[in-house]
Amino acid sequence: MTGTTSPAQTAASVVAPGTAESLARLGELRLTTVFTPRRRRVTKEPSGWWVNALRIGVVVAIFAYWEIGATVGWIDTFFWSKPSAIWNTALIALGNGDLFVNAGFTFTSTIAGFLIGVIGGVGIGLSFWWSRTYALVAEPMVIAFEAMPKLALAPIIVLVLGIGISSKIAMATALVIVIQILNTYAAVRSVDSDLTTMVSSLGASKWQVFRKVVVPSVLPWVISSLRVAIGLALTGAVVGEYIGSKEGLGRMIQYAGSTYDIALIWVGVFTLALLSAVLYLGVTLLERWLLKGVARVN
């Protein structure tokens, strides 16, 4: 010890020159700066009924302005139509069953594309865990496919698969699967390597590590990506219908546009919004149910 003691250490009570200066300046600052004690403002959560009343109020106001504006002449009904006309068109479309048929078609292709995309994407993403070489070769291709605007593929897909439901399912799948692969692969890479080491030290085979650590670690990621996936599936299905179809809400909107039936376009758009809300709600419930299931099974 004694051999390495420096002069600075022997005079321990004397503060180094730089430190002394800093201390003096801190002392000065204490004297010159004025500190105002602050009270943290506690924001009160607004009451539920008030928020809901405001929400409804805003929507009613927009529609009222639209209706009145169209009647008075501020809004050109040729381009924008008006709520009452849209309502009448909707009643007709509901009455002859067109709306149900089209919504059902879009719903079916969306769900099918969603399921194929999620299951396929998760499967492919999980497969990357098994071989590093395979993952390294495949990854840039998946990213390239992700970077490509897949909607641009729609004409080819419709040409190849025809104007039936399969081309819509293919579009929905194409949008969903890439995101699912990348998401699952990210989840696979973030599996805690200490956990896999621990399980290996218990003599687990690769398959056991996969089943007991990798799959349960990845599941929450997959479940939380389902909401994004359902939105993409709907987009894919509708774009497929725009390009060429005999049925579907996308086809209905496209047809209405080409015949200048603005009210029918709005009926299609509102129905799509409703459909997407229903799908979103459904997936949210599915998510909750799956999370509970995951907790129970494992």
């Binding site: 956990l195 290996s200 003599g203 687990a204 494992n298």
Partner: protein
Amino acid sequence: MTIAPEFTTTREPLLDDAQLVVDDVSRTFPSPDGGVVQALVGANLRVRRGEFISLIGPSGCGKSTLFNLIAGLDEPTAGSILMDGIERNGQQGLVGYMLQKDLLLPWRTVLDNVVLGLEISGVKRSDAYEIAKPLLETYGLGSFMHRYPRQLSGGMKQRAALLRTILFNRDVILLDEPFGALDAQTREHMQEWLLDLWDDFKKTVLFVTHDIDEAIYLSDRVFVMSARPGRIVAEIPITLDRPRHPSIVTSDEFIALKTTARGYLNNAHRVDGHIVVED
């Protein structure tokens, strides 16, 4: 400056009751600048059945490397690991291994976590539960068995992890700083608890710690390691009688042992005459 007597870990004649033998084991890793890092050089250990061994040393002294080699998660560049006289380089599943992190699977309850080892070795879950439940009751986890790890305190998690290691049912268990992240009081409880378990299950324990007191209090022999290159520099037999009462830490004998250990350890912290500041 006191210089520690040069300590060489030589190959003694094989002890009859040596359960685990680390025979002249070295492990080098390629370093980023193209050279090699000597993580462990010429380590020799002979551990008797039922013995409690501690390894102490600064960070980077190769303790964890040695454990990974014994657990078969890594293979030595030279030398061999023998268990019951058979070479076991790179073979997993032969020893119980527990790390500082509890590494409980967050989606499993305590009960499902502790039976993991049995489950992997092919025991039916219901049978594994039957074995595990009484043990959980006896060792203070009875009321927590259906809880998830996130609902447990640090000490309870470590208990669960240790029971998982015990239930894995191997004769040798490696404990890599199992109590390192716990507060002093919990740590003391856990040491008592570990000694109870060791007594009940007659395991051979290798224990890594930073804490000299802990090493001396728990062990039959303490090995001191040094960094760069990682090697074993000293062996201190702990002659204190068992069972040991926690108050033993204030006895003269204990303090003498501690002074010896500290002497070796301080040397271990010096590299080429410079004090290496770590942690």
